[in-house]
Amino acid sequence: MSNMMMVAWGGFVIGLLFGIVGQRTGFCLTSGLRKAWTEGDGRMLRAFALAMAVAIIASHGLEAFGYVNLQDSIYIHRSFSWLLFLLGGTLFGYGMIMANGCGSRALVLLGSGNLRSLVVVLCIGIAGHMTLTGVLAPLRLWAAELSSVTIPLPRASLTGLAASWGLGSTLALWIPALLVASGLLAYCFSHGGFRSSPRHLIGGLVVGVLVAGGWYVTGYLGDDDFDPVSLNSLTFIAPLGDTIQYLMLSTGLSVRFGVTVVAGVVVGSLAATLASRSFQLQGFSSPVRMARYIAGGLIMGIGGALALGCSIGQGLSGMSTLALPTFIAVAGILLGAWLGLRGPLRLPPL
């Protein structure tokens, strides 16, 4: 099997597992934040934090054993636009509250028969590509140039920062990773309700491993002297647009990791729904709600493209590399979600 095929199938398997686990456990940052901030139930948010901790440890483990070099990922980019990362993250976070779930959650729900999510998925995909390569791209590039900064480190991550303080390469790799991960784990496991909820424990654990699985598939299985594949993991903005594009232009395109992940998530969720006999077609109850979901999807697509990632792309894949720009994007996502849930731009609950 060629390395491209291995990456395509690897992506499908990762997507499949994400879809099954997402469907069975309800893994979702939006509902995690909503439950923690408005209902006082912090378990789902801790599941997300557990996924982050597991992803950080597993990804750095992959690098320590020489399987991948996280520095090749798009997240550890020395030059980035702080303005677009913050603005994009905020837009994404707000859109996520408007549409009641991010791109990955919408795919999982789509597999279980929720047609509202189809609208969200299409809006994210189209708006994301409008911003990356379409009508909004010139504006994005113009704004990026105005606010571009370059981090004066050879590696724009906490690892690079630790190395610049004189730590050896092994220590620089492990100390920040273990510090951040143990902080997250302490936050998770200090909560009794979370400790005794297998659903949340499994959701966080599996999704965290899948993030590292993405690095392994694209970075190790995809490695080829003549035909290198770009290092990638789970993310759901560009891949949604890529999937729409692939459906329309597949004779002239080669299949990419992100596209097979998207297909896998829908299939996995569908399989899990059918196996548990919970498949149910659902649509919009009112046009107002539909308009809100459309707007949320478009805002998520634009914001996710500006910040180079969504709640999963920056929030888990980006965080697993401990990239410095990622912290800005994640702060933006949390700010946007706060504005929509508790802040001055609060949205009525659905």
Partner: protein, 278 residues
């Protein structure tokens, strides 16, 4: 007033109507025969570099296949495969394949000179495209005839920000080669090569606004026991880290395949690989 206007619009005679619909029918007819018209419209005719190569000859528009992705987000590295449907034997073979990107600052991409030892007129490489355009491949056959093929390629702005205006010169001119372990007699083998090189076009500026001088690999030769298998001239429209996939059909019992690259500063790299036929 309104009355006269309505008179004017309704006063078309039956003859007018017939004349107009007749013109419509002609237009429709032209649209239906358009494939042959398009072929005769010779889309390459307005590109000087191609016309110069053809030198008055009329190329056959079939038999050359160009494969390019329909949409690319990164114009600096686009996979391209060109294939000429022709025998590659002593009597009749494809002598050369010329690739053109007419809307690039440098329309020539590369020229591949093939021989009967090439076995198969099929080359894969990676190219640069400045903008969306039609890419052309012209094949010159041993009997002096030409064939031409083309493919539209769309290039969008990059999905991601890129930096690294300078390149790491430590691995410069380091090449990797993959050849088949062994071949059966008469079998065509596939050779993959890639060499670290920035293929600096001479059009780029560094952070201080100074033009980075041109430095590209301009020639590549593959020889089997001293006999040419493939010779290639590269131009700045070839992507950085030149990649080639080509074919070799050894006579008899194989031999040593020697590959040599030369860049603008006269630096060369030579790689050798044994090809055994059994």
């Amino acid at each position: 007033m309104s009355r006269t206007r309505s008179l004017v619009t309704t006063s078309w005679s039956r003859r007018d109507f017939l004349r107009i619909s007749g013109a419509g029918a002609v237009t429709l007819g032209m649209m239906m025969v358009s494939p042959s018209l398009l072929a005769r419209s010779r889309p390459w005719a307005r590109h000087d570099a191609i016309m110069e190569l053809l030198d008055g000859a009329e190329p056959d528009t079939s038999g050359v296949t160009l494969e390019l992705p329909s949409v690319s987000e990164d114009g600096s590295n686009i996979s391209l495969t060109v294939r000429v449907d022709s025998a590659q034997e002593n009597g009749e073979y494809v002598k050369s394949i010329h690739l053109f990107a007419p809307d690039n600052p440098n329309p020539e991409i590369a020229v591949f000179h093939l021989t009967p030892l090439s076995g198969q007129a099929q080359i894969a490489t990676r190219i640069r495209l400045n903008e969306s355009q039609r890419v052309f491949a012209v094949a010159k056959l041993s009997d002096g005839s030409f064939r031409i093929g083309s493919q539209d390629a769309r290039v969008t702005v990059s999905g991601c920000l890129t930096d690294d205006a300078t390149y790491d010169s430590s691995g410069l001119m380091q090449a990797r080669v993959r050849t088949p372990r062994s071949l059966r007699p008469g079998e065509v083998g596939e050779v993959l090569t890639i060499i670290n090189h920035p293929m600096e076009t001479g059009f780029r500026e560094d952070a201080d606004g100074n033009t980075i001088p041109r430095r590209i690999i301009h020639s590549f030769v593959a020889e089997l026991d001293g006999e040419t298998v493939l010779r290639a001239d590269f131009h700045p429209s070839l992507a950085a880290n030149p990649y080639l996939r080509f074919h070799v059909k050894p006579n008899g019992s194989g031999g040593t395949l020697a590959l040599e690259w030369t860049d603008d500063e006269g630096e060369t790299t030579r790689e050798e690989a044994e090809l055994s036929v059994s």
